[in-house]
C-alpha cells in the first residue's frame, strides 16, 4: 500500500489509528506489528513471508550476539553478526540482483541461462538494511538486545517507513519501541508533517512527473535543447518532491504514533557542492553507509590510499543499492569521482567562488546525474545528455517546447521556491518558531484543509500516481 492512495487514507489509516489508541499501551507494538503486516501484504500478499522470515532470523541473531557477548565469546558473537549479514544480503541479492547477474553472465560468456523474473519485494532494500543495523548495533553495544519478538517485529515492519524509508537505524528508536509516550502535541505535529508530505507527493511530484514522462518518451532526435533541460528539471523535481514527500509522510505518521525518526532530506537543491548535496539528500542512506561501511573500513584514518578506496566502495554500493542496473552503478561511480575530486581539489575553490556560481555548479552536476539515473539504457541516457547540449536535436527550441514551458511555468516556479527553505521561513513568520502566534490555528487549519481537499481531489481523479521506488 502507499500513503498517497484513497484506500490508505480512508480505510487503512482510520482503522489503524482507532486500534492503536484504543488498546492499552502494552499492546500497541502488537497492533503495529499486525497492521503493518497488512499494510505490506496489501501489495505483496506472498512476500509478507520474507518479512516474517527476516524478523525471525534477525531476532534470533540478535539474541545470539547478545548471548555470546555476555559470555565473553566475542568471536562467536562476530560469527553471529556475520551470519545475520550474510542472510540479509543473500535475501537482497537473490531478489534484487540475480537477474542482473545472470544477464551480465549471459552477455559476457554467450551463455543462455534463463532469467528468474522475480518481482522485487517492495521495500526490501530498506528493511534488509534496517535489520542488519540491528545485529550490528547490538554487537557494538549501541543498542540493547530486544527480547520481545513482537516489539522487534514492529520495528522491522513498521508501516510508516516500510516501503520507502527513511532507513531507521535500530539504535535511533530502540528506546522508543519500549517507552514512547504518544501525546497531543506530537500528533498535531505529525498531522502537519503528513499533510506537507501528501501535498508534495500528490500535488507537486505527480504533476511535474507528467511532464517528465512525456519528455522522456520522446524519441531521441526529436528533442530540442530547451525540452531536454526542461525534462530533466522535471525529473529532478519529481524525484525530490516524491521522495522527500514520502519521508515527510513517514515522519508525520511516525509522530502520530509516538515515534521520532530522523530527518531524511534537508533542502538538497540548495547545495553549493556535491559534497553538500549528499549531506542533504537521503540522509538516512548516507548515514547508514557511513556507520556500517565507511567507518568500519577505516574511514579517513588509514591514509589517503585507503580513504579513496573506502570512498570508492561506498559509492559503488550506493549506486547499486538504487537498482540492479548498470546505470545506477554508473551513477554511484559518477558521484564517487566528483566527491573525491571535490574533497582534494575543488572544495577550496568552490568556497571562494560567489555562491550563485557554486550553486549552478552543483545543480548542473546533480542534473547530469539524474539523466544517468533516469535511463536504464545507458545509450539512451547518453543521447539525452547530448540533446541537452544541442547534439542531434530539432534545434534550440520549438513550438512544443514553448507550449510545455508555458504550461508548467507556474508549477516550476512553485517547485523551485518549494525546494528552498523559503516556505519554512514563511511559515515561521506566520505562526512563530513554535506555533506560538495567535493566528497559528487559522493558518495551520487552512493548510491542513487545503492540502487535504486538493490532494484527495487529485487522488479521486488519479490517472497518474506512480510509485518510484520499485527499484530500490
Amino acid at each position: 500500500m502507499v500513503f498517497s492512495s484513497l484506500p490508505f487514507l480512508f480505510r487503512y489509516l482510520p482503522i489503524v489509528l482507532i486500534l492503536y489508541f484504543i488498546v492499552p499501551r502494552k499492546l500497541r507494538n502488537t497492533v503495529l506489528f499486525f497492521t503493518s503486516l497488512v499494510f505490506y501484504a496489501w501489495g505483496e500478499p506472498i512476500y509478507v513471508v520474507i518479512m516474517l522470515f527476516s524478523t525471525v532470523v534477525d531476532f534470533t541473531h540478535g539474541m545470539l550476539v547478545h548471548h555470546f557477548k555476555q559470555k565473553g565469546e566475542i568471536k562467536k558473537a562476530k560469527l553471529a553478526v556475520a551470519s545475520s549479514m550474510i542472510i540479509n544480503l543473500a535475501l537482497l541479492g537473490f531478489f534484487k540482483y540475480s537477474d542482473f547477474l545472470i544477464s551480465n553472465i549471459n552477455a559476457l560468456t554467450g551463455s543462455d541461462i534463463a532469467l528468474l523474473k522475480l518481482a522485487l519485494p517492495i521495500g526490501i532494500s530498506f528493511y534488509t538494511f534496517q535489520t542488519m543495523s540491528y545485529t550490528i548495533d547490538v554487537f557494538r553495544g549501541e543498542a540493547e538486545v530486544q527480547k520481545n519478538i513482537i516489539s522487534f517485529g514492529a520495528y522491522v515492519v513498521l508501516f510508516p517507513q516500510l516501503i520507502a524509508g527513511p532507513i531507521v537505524q535500530y539504535k535511533t528508536i530502540a528506546t522508543q519501541l519500549q517507552e514512547r509516550r504518544e501525546n497531543f502535541d506530537q500528533f498535531s505535529y505529525g498531522v502537519i508533517r503528513f499533510m506537507n508530505g501528501l501535498g508534495k507527493k500528490v500535488l507537486l511530484a505527480n504533476n511535474i512527473g507528467l511532464l517528465w514522462d512525456k519528455i522522456s518518451a520522446t524519441p531521441s532526435g526529436e528533442l530540442t535543447v530547451v525540452t531536454a533541460w526542461l525534462g530533466i528539471t522535471a525529473f529532478a523535481f519529481q524525484i525530490y518532491f516524491d521522495f522527500s514527500g514520502y519521508s515527510d509522510m513517514a515522519i508525520g505518521l511516525g509522530n502520530m504514533l509516538g515515534f521520532r525518526f530522523l530527518e531524511n532530506f534537508n533542502y538538497p537543491y540548495m547545495s553549493k557542492s556535491i559534497t553538500e548535496f549528499w549531506r542533504r539528500w537521503h540522509i538516512s542512506l548516507g548515514s547508514w553507509f557511513r556507520d556500517y561501511v565507511y567507518i568500519p573500513l577505516g574511514g579517513n584514518r588509514c591514509g589517503l590510499g585507503k580513504q579513496i578506496r573506502n570512498i570508492a566502495i561506498v559509492w559503488l554500493l550506493t549506486g547499486i543499492w538504487h537498482g540492479a542496473s548498470w546505470n545506477f552503478i554508473m551513477w554511484g561511480v559518477y558521484f564517487g569521482v566528483i566527491l573525491v575530486f571535490e574533497k582534494f581539489v575543488l572544495l577550496k575553490v568552490l568556497n571562494k567562488l560567489p555562491s550563485f556560481i557554486s550553486h549552478i555548479y552543483a545543480i548542473f552536476l546533480v542534473w547530469i546525474g539524474w539523466v544517468i539515473f533516469a535511463f536504464d539504457d545507458l545509450s539512451r541516457g547518453i543521447d539525452y545528455i547530448k540533446a541537452m547540449f544541442g547534439v542531434n536535436t530539432l534545434g534550440f527550441v520549438n513550438t512544443n517546447a514553448l507550449y510545455l514551458l508555458m504550461n508548467y511555468a507556474l508549477i516550476l516556479i512553485i517547485l523551485i521556491l518549494g525546494s528552498t527553505d523559503l516556505p519554512k521561513r514563511l511559515a515561521i513568520r506566520f505562526v512563530g518558531e513554535h506555533g506560538e502566534k495567535r493566528v497559528t490555528p487559522v493558518v495551520q487549519g487552512l493548510f491542513v484543509v487545503g492540502i487535504f481537499i486538493i490532494s484527495v481531489a487529485y487522488l479521486v481523479d488519479a490517472s497518474y500516481n506512480p510509485f518510484l521506488y520499485f527499484r530500490f
Binding site: L6, P7, L9, F10, R11, P14, W42, G43, P45, I46, F184, D185, Q186, F187, S188, Y189, V191, R193, L203, K214, N255, R260, E263, R279, I283, S287, F289, R290, Y294, G299, Q307, N310, I311, V314, L339, N400, L402, Y403, M406, N407, A409, I414, V431, H434, G435, E436, K437, R438, T440, P441, Q444, G445, V448, V449, F452, I453, V456, A457, V460, D461
Partner: protein
C-alpha cells in the same frame, strides 16, 4: 562521507518546545480535530455511499465491489480491483474532479486530462503523436485504400466515397492555447487525398469557410448538426445530387444546456452547448439492430433527459441502423461510420430508399457479404480523424 554534518542529523522532529516560556503551540487542537474529522468523515461517507454502476458524467461503467476469493487475493487482482472500487465509488466523485480541474486552471495549465482549454469556452480534445499507434494508423490507411478501390470498381466512381472529417483541433486552430501541438491531422488528410484522390471528400475547405459558425460543439467531441450539414453539402455534390437548402428544413433547438463528452473529462462547466435538429417534414422508418421494431423518427428524444444527449440522433451507438425513406428510387446507401454519422445520416437518408449505418466496433459481419446481401448501391465511409486513426476494428471493412 566522513564529513557528514552531525548537527543536521540531530534535528529532532518535532523540534523540542522550550517549556516554561509561556509560548505554547496554539494550533495543535485545530490540526488534530480537522484532520480526524476529514479522515473519519470521508471514510464513513464513502462507505455508506451507495455503489453506483454507471457514471453518467464520465460515461463509463464504474468498478463494483470486488468478490473476494483467496486466489484473487494471492494473484493481486482482488486488491487492484478493490483500489479501483474505492476510487471509482468515492463519495462526491464529480465534485472532487471539479476541484482538481479548478486547481489545474489556477496553476495556469492549458490542458487538463487530455483536453485543451481553448478560447471562448472551447474544450478541444488533445491527441498527441505518442497517443497514436503508428502501425495501426498505417493499417487503417491501407484498409481504407483497399476498400475504396475495390468498391469503386464494383459500384462506380460516383458511388463510393470516404469522408474523414477533421475535428475541432484542426479546424478551430485559433481557439487553441498558444503553441498547442498534437497529431497532425492536416498531413494525414493530405495523405488520404493523395491515395484516394477523387474518392476522398476533403472537408477542410468548407469548414474553414464556415469556421466562425457553430459547427463544432464546445464541450463535446462531435460536430454540430450545422457542421454535419456542411459536410452533407460537399458529399451530395460529389455523388451528384442536389443537396437540400437549409431553408427547406425546420430547424429546431432541442437543448440549450448540453454538456458533452469533453466536459466530462474535466467536470468543470466553463461553457455549454445548444443542440439542433433539422426537420425535413418527411417520413422515415427506422429499425435498430434488426430487432423488427419500426420507429418513425430519426430522433430518440428521450436521450435529452440523460447525460448522453448526443444519442438523440439515431439513438447513439448501435451496431446497425436501417432507415427507410419515402424516396423510392431503389438506391441503397451503406454508411460505415463512427458517431459523427449520427447527425449526418438524417440528411443523407433523403436521397436514398434505404440507408444503413454500420458501426464496425460492434458489428462483426464482413462488409463484402453485407454489401452483396443487401444490394448496396452506394457506400460512404464516415469517421472523424481522431476516431479513424485509433480504430482497431477496420479489418471487417476489407473482409
Amino acid at each position: 562521507m566522513s564529513e557528514v554534518n552531525k548537527n543536521l542529523e540531530a534535528v529532532p522532529n518535532p523540534p523540542k518546545i522550550k517549556k516554561g516560556e509561556g509560548k505554547e503551540q496554539r494550533g495543535r487542537f485545530s490540526n488534530v480535530i480537522i484532520f480526524l474529522v476529514l479522515i473519519y468523515g470521508l471514510t464513513i461517507a464513502s462507505m455508506i455511499n451507495p455503489v453506483k454502476g454507471f457514471s453518467e458524467s464520465e460515461n463509463r461503467v464504474l468498478e463494483g465491489r470486488p468478490k473476494f476469493s483467496w486466489e484473487s487475493l494471492f494473484n493481486g487482482s482482488f486488491i487492484s480491483k478493490y483500489e479501483t472500487f474505492v476510487t471509482d465509488q468515492f463519495v462526491f466523485r464529480d465534485t472532487w474532479i471539479g476541484i482538481k480541474t479548478r486547481t489545474e486552471l489556477a496553476m495556469l495549465k492549458k490542458d487538463i486530462n487530455g483536453v485543451y482549454i481553448g478560447k471562448d469556452g472551447y474544450l478541444i480534445e488533445k491527441v498527441e503523436n505518442s497517443d497514436v499507434d503508428m502501425e495501426q494508423l498505417d493499417r487503417n490507411e491501407k484498409r481504407l485504400y483497399a476498400f475504396i478501390n475495390k468498391y469503386k470498381e464494383q459500384l462506380g466512381d460516383e458511388h463510393v466515397f470516404a469522408m474523414i472529417a477533421p475535428t475541432a483541433f484542426e479546424v478551430l486552430k485559433e481557439k487553441l492555447p498558444p503553441y498547442a501541438t498534437g497529431f497532425d491531422q492536416g498531413a494525414f488528410l493530405n495523405r488520404l487525398e493523395g491515395t484516394l484522390t477523387n474518392q476522398f471528400i476533403d472537408l477542410r475547405q468548407t469548414f474553414s469557410e464556415h469556421k466562425d459558425e457553430y459547427i463544432f460543439y464546445r464541450t463535446d467531441h462531435h460536430w454540430t448538426t450545422l457542421g454535419a450539414y456542411y459536410a452533407y453539402v460537399e458529399w451530395a455534390e460529389a455523388i451528384g445530387v442536389t443537396p437540400m437548402r437549409q431553408e427547406e428544413f425546420d430547424i429546431k433547438k432541442i437543448e440549450d444546456k448540453f454538456l458533452g463528452t469533453i466536459y466530462s473529462k474535466i467536470n468543470l462547466e466553463l461553457s455549454s452547448d445548444e443542440m439542433y435538429l433539422y426537420d425535413s417534414g418527411k417520413n422515415y422508418t427506422v429499425e435498430y439492430n434488426m430487432d423488427g421494431v419500426q420507429k418513425n423518427s430519426l430522433y430518440e428524444m428521450s436521450f435529452l433527459d440523460t447525460k448522453d444527449k448526443y444519442s438523440v440522433y439515431l439513438g447513439g451507438n448501435n451496431p446497425i441502423v436501417k432507415i427507410d425513406s419515402e424516396n423510392h428510387n431503389g438506391k441503397k446507401l451503406l454508411i460505415i461510420k463512427d458517431s459523427y454519422a449520427h447527425c449526418f445520416a438524417p440528411f443523407a437518408a433523403n436521397h436514398f430508399e434505404t440507408t444503413y449505418m454500420v458501426d464496425l466496433r460492434y458489428f462483426n459481419m464482413p462488409m463484402s457479404r453485407f454489401i452483396e446481401e443487401n444490394g448496396i448501391t452506394d457506400v460512404l465511409v464516415l469517421y472523424n480523424v481522431n476516431g479513424y486513426i485509433k480504430d482497431k476494428n477496420l479489418d471487417n471493412m476489407v473482409r
